[in-house]
Symmetry: C2
Subunit: 185 residues, 2 copies
DNA sequence: ACTAACATGTAACACGTTACATGATTGT
DNA sequence: ACAATCATGTAACGTGTTACATGTTAGT
């Protein structure tokens, strides 16, 4: 039950239409919570029905017409409740590790195919890492340290550290692959 | 579409019944791909219908009777195909980061509630980290380095590095919280 | 008039979660 | 006989994914 709260957070930061939300979920919010426009429209309907948000009155509601939403007090209260509630970490699911284990179980033929994709993932994570580092330089110069800035920076640091982990681990994995006997590749 | 391949991998390593699989998904495989017994039984039914696995003939099929499965050649081929296929990283979803951003958007009241849960998560990740480190000492002494061992060790290293990231980042986050002005807590 | 981009949606399906149901085996 | 545990399943629901449908606005 996190998507509605992600949307409430986004709308609290700035009232938006469905498509504007979709764009924001492709950028900043999407770095740690992704969502497609189909999910967003479905959830906007639910949140409005529950009285957590409302459409800004100015615009007429019709297909193809932009419709912006804002958070109501009930929505803000629900978000505060959810944020403070104790939650267990979600069970972890990572396809790459699974594929490595499958490769080990299959043996020779299994190991051969996966190396190319490891290189591709390494490249993707390197790009994500430099994107985060650019954001850090641009948006968090030394001295910007209101409580809001500190929290946002904390989240960005997590992204940077995670991408650093991936680039290091994938590099290490490829080195290990290079050392495997030839009949396993 | 990863759960069927996780089950194929587990059965390839060792033919098992549904409950045995459930137990294994609570331990080693579950460290990077979790699944409940309901998911496993549903998927075993599908895999059998597709001809990827079969029940070991010895035992009679009845409710409450143990039923073990083994991988058929078609299943092994499908697993090899899937392992070698190029796959994009899954969109990332991390509740903790979302909650921090929500706290920042809400302001004072939002920040107050989350600190306790950060401490709890830090404790959980510390425990997971020492569990992984024990496994490394027990199962991967120096000198054990067949291709299979190397791949398994690689996966374990990823787990150790990820838990190390979490303990470091959560510790840093709590230090930042301690520096926030009092009215934000 | 046509096309592309914008904007909002529907439908069908796959996957994951939670609660519950049922029979078999073992210990007391 | 009873309870606990083992073992396999069903049902309902929520969330995420993919494909498609429909109207609007702006440019040529």
């Amino acid at each position: 039950m996190s998507l509605p709260h992600a949307i409430l957070t986004a709308l609290l930061e700035k009232p938006s239409s469905g498509l504007e939300l979709t764009r924001r979920f492709d950028r900043s919010i999407g770095y740690f919570w992704s969502a497609t426009h189909q999910q967003i429209y479905r959830e906007l309907g639910k949140l409005e029905a529950e009285g957590h948000i409302r459409a800004l009155p100015s615009e007429q509601p019709a297909r193809g017409q932009k419709k912006s939403y804002e958070v109501l007090p009930a929505g803000r209260a629900e978000l505060a409740r959810w944020t403070a509630a104790s939650q267990d970490p979600k069970p972890y699911r990572e396809t790459l590790f699974l594929r490595l284990r499958a490769a080990a179980a299959i043996g020779t033929e299994g190991v051969a195919g996966i190396e190319t994709d490891l290189r591709r993932h390494l490249e993707l994570h390197r790009r994500q890492l430099s994107e985060y580092e650019e954001i850090e330089q641009r948006d968090f110069p030394p001295g910007k340290d209101s409580p809001q800035d500190r929290l946002q920076h904390l989240i960005l640091r997590a992204g940077i550290d995670l991408e650093t982990f991936w680039t290091r681990w994938l590099t290490h994995a490829l080195e290990e692959f290079a050392q495997l006997p030839d009949q396993s590749r």
